[in-house]
C-alpha cells in the first residue's frame, strides 16, 4: 500500500479576486522509502500539494490518504515531520530547545527528550551545538537544525518545502549530500519541493513535474539512477539524461512567453 495516495485532488482558494484553482486533478502514489521531488515554476501548486499531504490545506474535491488515513488523522498520529523554506527556529530557544519543542508538545518524557535530541543532532552533524542559540549558527546549520527538529519524533514521512532554497550553492550541495545519506540510513519516505532541476534529479527516485494555472501534474519521471549517489554522479550521462527529460517536461507545459 502506498504511503501517500491522491486521487483527483482539486483545491480552489477563494480570494478577493474570485476563486483561484491551485490544484486540479492531482493523482499520485508515493511508496514507502521513495524520495519524491515536486518541481515546477512558481504557482504550479507544488507547495500547496505538500501542505495538503500535511493537512495544512484541505482539498475541495478528490481523495487523499496518508498511511491509509485522512491527512488530518495522519497528522494527529504524527505521521510526518515538516521542514519549511526558512529554518523558523525560535530565537528564544537554544538549538536543543528547538528540537525539544515537538517532543514537549507530544508528551515525551524528559529522559527520552534528551536522548532523542542527542540522536538527531548527531544525524545532522550538529553534535556540540545543543546549547547554542540560533543566531550563533550559519544559515546552513540552522536549516540542518530544523531538519533535526522534524526528525526528532521519528515520523515515517519527511515533507520538505524548498528547505535549501535560500542557501548558496556550495552549502546546498553539501546539505543535499547529507540529506541523501540521512535518507539512506533512516529509510524514510521524503516529499521534497524544489525549483532546481539538478537538485531534484540528484536527490529523487521519482520526479513530479508540475505546471501552473491550474496546478497539475505534467509528468512523473522514475529515476533510473542508483540509490547510492556520490556528488559526481551529476556528470554522468544517465544523470544528464534525466535532467534533460525534466527540462523537456517543464518546457512542454510551461510557455514562457
Amino acid at each position: 500500500m502506498p504511503v501517500v495516495s491522491a486521487r483527483d485532488v482539486d483545491l480552489t482558494f477563494q480570494t478577493g479576486d474570485g476563486p483561484v484553482q491551485a490544484l486540479k486533478g492531482i493523482s499520485l502514489d508515493i511508496d514507502k522509502g521513495d524520495f519524491v521531488s515536486f518541481i515546477g515554476p512558481s504557482g504550479c501548486g507544488k507547495t500547496t500539494f505538500l501542505r495538503v499531504i500535511a493537512a495544512l490545506e484541505e482539498p475541495t474535491a478528490g481523495q487523499i490518504t496518508v498511511n491509509g488515513m485522512s491527512p488530518d488523522e495522519a497528522r494527529r498520529a504524527r505521521a510526518y515531520g515538516y521542514v519549511f523554506q526558512a529554518a523558523g527556529l525560535y530565537p528564544w530557544r537554544t538549538i536543543g530547545g528547538n528540537i525539544r519543542l515537538p517532543l514537549e508538545i507530544m508528551g515525551f518524557s524528559k529522559a527520552e527528550r534528551a536522548e532523542r535530541v542527542a540522536k538527531v543532532l548527531e544525524l545532522v552533524e550538529l553534535t556540540g551545538f545543543e546549547n547554542k542559540f540560533p543566531w550563533q549558527l550559519s544559515g546552513g546549520m540552522q536549516q540542518r537544525a530544523s531538519i533535526a527538529r522534524a526528525l526528532a519524533f521519528d515520523a515515517e514521512i519527511l515533507l520538505m518545502d524548498e528547505p535549501f532554497g535560500a542557501l548558496d550553492e556550495i552549502v546546498r550541495d553539501h546539505l543535499n549530500e547529507q540529506l541523501l545519506a540521512l535518507w539512506g540510513r533512516t529509510g524514510k519516505t521524503i516529499g521534497f519541493v524544489t525549483h532546481s532541476i539538478p537538485e531534484a534529479v540528484y536527490l529523487s527516485t521519482k520526479i513530479v513535474v508540475m505546471s501552473p494555472r491550474p496546478g497539475r501534474i505534467a509528468d512523473v519521471i522514475e529515476s533510473p539512477l542508483p540509490r547510492e549517489r556520490p556528488l559526481d554522479i551529476r556528470d554522468t550521462p544517465e544523470f544528464l539524461e534525466v535532467a534533460h527529460r525534466v527540462r523537456d517536461g517543464l518546457r512542454a507545459v510551461n510557455a514562457y512567453d
Binding site: 495544512l56 504524527r78 510526518y80 523554506q85 514537549e104 540560533p134
Partner: protein
C-alpha cells in the same frame, strides 16, 4: 566612559540656559526689592518698570541682577535653589517627616507601583482577549483608544468621587487612575507582540497538532516579550503621571502631587520645582529599573545579542 563628556556638556548647557532664563524672569522683583532697600533704580516708578521687558530692565539696573538668584518666591528659581531645597527636604529631614520629599515620594511611588501592576495585568489580559476573540478585537480596541483621548485631569476627579461613594479611599483610587494611563501602552504593545509570530511558525505548531494553549505559552507569549518590555517602559512613566494627577483633585496632603498643589497655593515656586525634579528623578529610576529587567530577561531568552 566615552559618553560621559557629551552628557556632561548637555547638562552644563541646560544649567547655563536655566540660570540665564532666571534673569529676565525674576528681575522685576529684584529691582523692586532693591528700590525698597533704598537703592537708586531706573526707572524709579514701579508702573514704568512693569511696562519694561525683562532683559531691558536688567540692562538698566545691572546692580540688581545678582538679586534674581536668591529670592524666596522667584518666578523661576535658580538651579542651586532647587537643589538646595531638594537636599534639605530629602537628606535633611527624617523620612517620616511631613516635610520630607522621601516620605511624599514613597506615597506617590506606592500608588504608582500598584497602578502599574493593575494596568499591566489588565493590559495583558485585554491583549490576550483581543488576539483570541474577534468580537473583543472589534469592541475593546476602539474603547481603549477613546479612553486615552479623555484628559486624565478631567476624569480623575470623577474616579475619586465614584470610588469614594462606594467606600474606597486612599491608595486604591490613585492606583486606579495610574492604571488607567498605563494599561493602554501595554494593550497596544502586547497585541502587536502576540501577533508577531509569522504564519510559518504557527503552521509549524499545527503540524505538531499543538493545542491553542500550547501555541500561546510556547510561541505567542515568548515572541511578545520584546514588545511587552517596550510598552512597560512607557507604562511605568505613565503610571507615575497618573499617581501624581490622582493626588491633585483630592486635596491630598501627602504625595508629590500634594506638594505641587501646596506649593502652588502658597506661591512656593522652589517647592514646586523641587517636587517636579523629584518626580522626574523617580520616573528616570523606574524606567531604568524596567530597562535592567528587560535586558536581563531578553539576554536569558537569547534575544539580546
Amino acid at each position: 566612559m566615552r559618553s560621559i563628556l557629551p552628557v556632561l556638556s548637555v547638562i552644563a548647557a541646560i544649567v547655563a540656559l536655566w540660570y540665564l532664563a532666571a534673569v529676565p524672569m525674576n528681575i522685576h522683583q529684584a529691582v523692586t526689592d532693591a528700590a525698597r532697600a533704598g537703592q537708586t533704580v531706573h526707572p524709579p516708578e514701579a508702573a514704568a518698570r512693569r511696562d519694561l521687558g525683562g532683559w531691558r530692565l536688567a540692562l538698566e539696573n545691572p546692580g540688581a541682577v545678582a538679586g534674581v538668584f536668591s529670592q524666596a518666591r522667584p518666578r523661576l528659581p535658580a538651579p542651586h535653589q532647587v537643589l538646595t531645597e531638594l537636599w534639605r527636604t530629602t537628606a535633611g529631614k527624617k523620612i517620616t517627616s511631613k516635610r520630607s520629599l522621601v516620605f511624599h515620594g514613597w506615597i506617590t511611588l506606592s500608588a504608582t507601583l500598584l497602578g502599574f501592576a493593575i494596568g499591566t495585568a489588565m493590559g495583558i489580559l485585554l491583549a490576550v482577549g483581543i488576539v483570541y476573540s474577534r468580537a473583543m478585537d472589534m469592541s475593546v480596541m476602539p474603547w481603549a483608544i477613546a479612553s486615552q483621548t479623555i484628559p486624565i485631569l478631567a476624569i480623575a476627579p470623577m474616579i475619586i468621587v465614584v470610588l469614594n461613594s462606594v467606600g474606597l479611599q486612599g491608595l486604591l483610587p490613585k492606583a486606579i487612575i495610574s492604571a488607567y494611563l498605563s494599561f493602554f501602552p501595554v494593550v497596544v504593545g502586547m497585541v502587536k507582540g502576540l501577533r508577531a509570530p509569522e504564519a510559518m511558525q504557527l503552521d509549524l505548531l499545527r503540524t505538531y497538532s499543538a493545542s491553542k494553549s500550547e501555541m500561546f505559552w510556547k510561541l505567542r507569549l515568548p515572541a511578545s516579550m520584546p514588545y511587552l518590555f517596550a510598552s512597560l517602559k512607557v507604562g511605568i512613566a505613565a503610571s507615575l503621571v497618573g499617581a501624581i494627577v490622582g493626588e491633585l483633585p483630592t486635596g491630598a496632603v501627602r504625595g508629590l502631587g500634594a506638594r505641587l498643589l501646596a506649593g502652588s497655593y502658597y506661591g512656593q515656586t522652589i517647592q514646586i520645582w523641587s517636587a517636579l525634579l523629584a518626580a522626574a528623578v523617580l520616573a528616570a529610576v523606574l524606567v531604568s529599573i524596567v530597562g535592567l529587567i528587560e535586558r536581563a530577561t531578553l539576554r536569558r531568552m537569547g534575544l539580546n545579542r
